[in-house]
């Protein structure tokens, strides 16, 4: 478990390269900084300046080594490394509100951008014109798209939106791929078709994630719930209301376990039992610091009682590793099937790397199925 504090400002978004030696992040301004790991230090090696607005999404394609960034200036850029310099290519998204999130598809021939214009732009490269072209998914989205995740078949796209729904769309582009095989979510997948729409949870959907097989999708909603839907003839949705503050990001670490993190500043484990269609709380994944227990003097105790009407000696100090909300979680190695390490970044400008094995041994009742 390693924690590194990059900046004092929040980290808006981050993405790792293929061998996890470099991280691209946005320090809450118009730039993207790329840091390289050097022993135990992180050195800033590149600064990508092209956006005119805050960069809201970064994704680094592992195989083709391209970075796509999107920002509040309604643009997206695809960066390619030429020699030692990253060169941007503008992508016209045809949106009139800020872009909020971007992800490469698994085969890296397309990427999807979610925006405040109530649509998803699916962009692919057109060889003849040497230009990125985009197609829009508009219906039936009623509000900003906050988060996106691709299905492993490169066609289905899960989108979480501010209209309180998580939907799975088909983003099949016939110019770049063949017809996809039937999946648990349906077999007819024309572009823009809604394969699944969630019901039951209210609150903005902050984070969405497909499982490794693509048969399950999980989302975290602003009403402090986490829900999992399993595809099939009729999709089965299960949700769990938690006693904590809302969660902002969620990811599968095995087919049955999810890790989510949010405004409570520590990651939490959830376990999904498909036989009973039940989602349960697995445990709080934080390594507690051994805080020195100071005894309270009688005077302090009386002051506490007078000012706060409390007899507790708990100070208002967060005991978690992150000191502010965690906004993004990414898998470092093991993939979504057997994750061994994951990374969280947050509004405190810090990045923590969590090792699943050490967490399992540290928390006694933790079981990652």
């Amino acid at each position: 478990m390693a924690y590194h504090s990059f900046l004092l400002e929040p980290i808006s978004c981050h993405s790792w390269n293929k061998d996890r030696t470099q991280i691209a992040l946005c320090p809450n301004n118009h730039e993207v900084h790329i840091y390289k790991k050097d022993g135990s230090n992180w050195n800033k090696i590149h600064v990508l300046k092209e956006h005119n607005g805050q960069v809201t999404g970064i994704d680094w394609a592992p195989e083709s080594n391209r970075i796509v960034t999107c920002g509040t200036d309604r643009n997206a850029y695809v960066w390619t490394l030429k020699g030692d310099v990253w060169k941007p290519t503008l992508v016209i998204l045809r949106i009139n509100r800020a872009a909020r999130c971007v992800t490469w598809s698994p085969k890296e021939n397309k990427f999807a951008v979610g925006s405040g214009s109530r649509l998803i732009s699916v962009c692919y490269f057109e060889q003849e014109n040497d230009w990125w072209v985009c197609k829009h998914i508009k219906k039936p989205i009623r509000s900003t798209i906050l988060c996106l995740d691709w299905h492993p078949n490169n066609v289905l796209l899960a989108a979480g939106s501010c209209d309180f729904k998580c939907r799975i769309f088909s983003a099949y582009i016939k110019e770049v791929e063949e017809k996809p095989a039937p999946t648990a979510w349906g077999s007819k997948m024309p572009f823009g078709e809604v394969m699944f729409e969630s019901t039951g949870t209210s609150g903005w959907v902050h984070g969405v994630c497909f499982s490794d097989s693509g048969n399950r999708v999980a989302w975290a909603s602003h009403d402090s719930t986490v829900a999992v839907a399993e595809g099939g003839k009729t999709a089965v949705c299960t949700s769990l209301s938690s006693e904590t503050l809302p969660l902002l990001c969620v990811t599968f670490i095995t087919e049955n376990s999810l890790v989510a993190a949010g405004h409570d500043c520590y990651p939490v484990l959830f376990v999904y039992d498909s036989n009973n269609a039940a989602l349960s709380f697995g445990g709080k994944l934080d390594v507690p610091k051994q805080s020195a227990q100071k005894g309270l003097t009688a005077r302090e105790r009386f002051q506490n009682l007078d000012k706060k009407a409390s007899v507790d000696s708990k100070e208002a100090v967060l005991e978690s590793v992150h000191k502010n909300s965690i906004s993004q979680i990414s898998i470092l190695n093991g993939g979504k099937a057997k994750c061994a390490k994951f990374c969280t970044t947050g509004m405190d400008g810090g990045m923590a790397i969590w090792d699943v094995k050490t967490l399992e041994s540290a928390m006694k009742d933790l079981k990652i199925v």
Binding site: F164, S202, G203, H222, D223, S224, T225, S241, S242, E243, T244, L245, P246
Partner: protein, 101 residues
């Protein structure tokens, strides 16, 4: 008393758009809540399930909106016990719910 609480919390007027119905339901629940003894509040909250605690929180906050004589003090006691069980999540669900009680 516990039975009265369970009955009062049954069938909340969540889907109704009629303010009179909601007003009546709120008054009934408030009457039940204020007639509890202080020591009975905790076991009563413990007897509710998760959805029950969320629903109770909704009524408590609705009760805060229109304070009547001593109601706020009693409601604060209920709030403390319901918070111990429901946590911050139940309060967030009161704030984000689109259909109010």
């Amino acid at each position: 008393m516990m039975a009265a609480l369970h009955i009062a919390l049954r069938n909340p007027p969540i889907n109704s758009k009629n303010p009179a119905i909601k007003e009546r339901a709120q008054n009934v629940v408030l009457k039940v809540l204020t007639s509890f003894r202080g020591s009975d509040i905790e076991p009563a909250v413990k007897s509710l399930d998760k959805n029950g605690v969320d629903l109770l929180m909704k009524y408590i906050y609705k009760g805060f909106e229109r304070p009547v004589e001593n109601s706020s003090a009693i409601l604060l006691q209920w709030h403390e016990k319901a918070f111990a069980i429901g946590g911050l999540g139940s309060i967030v669900r009161v704030l984000t719910a689109r259909k109010t009680v």
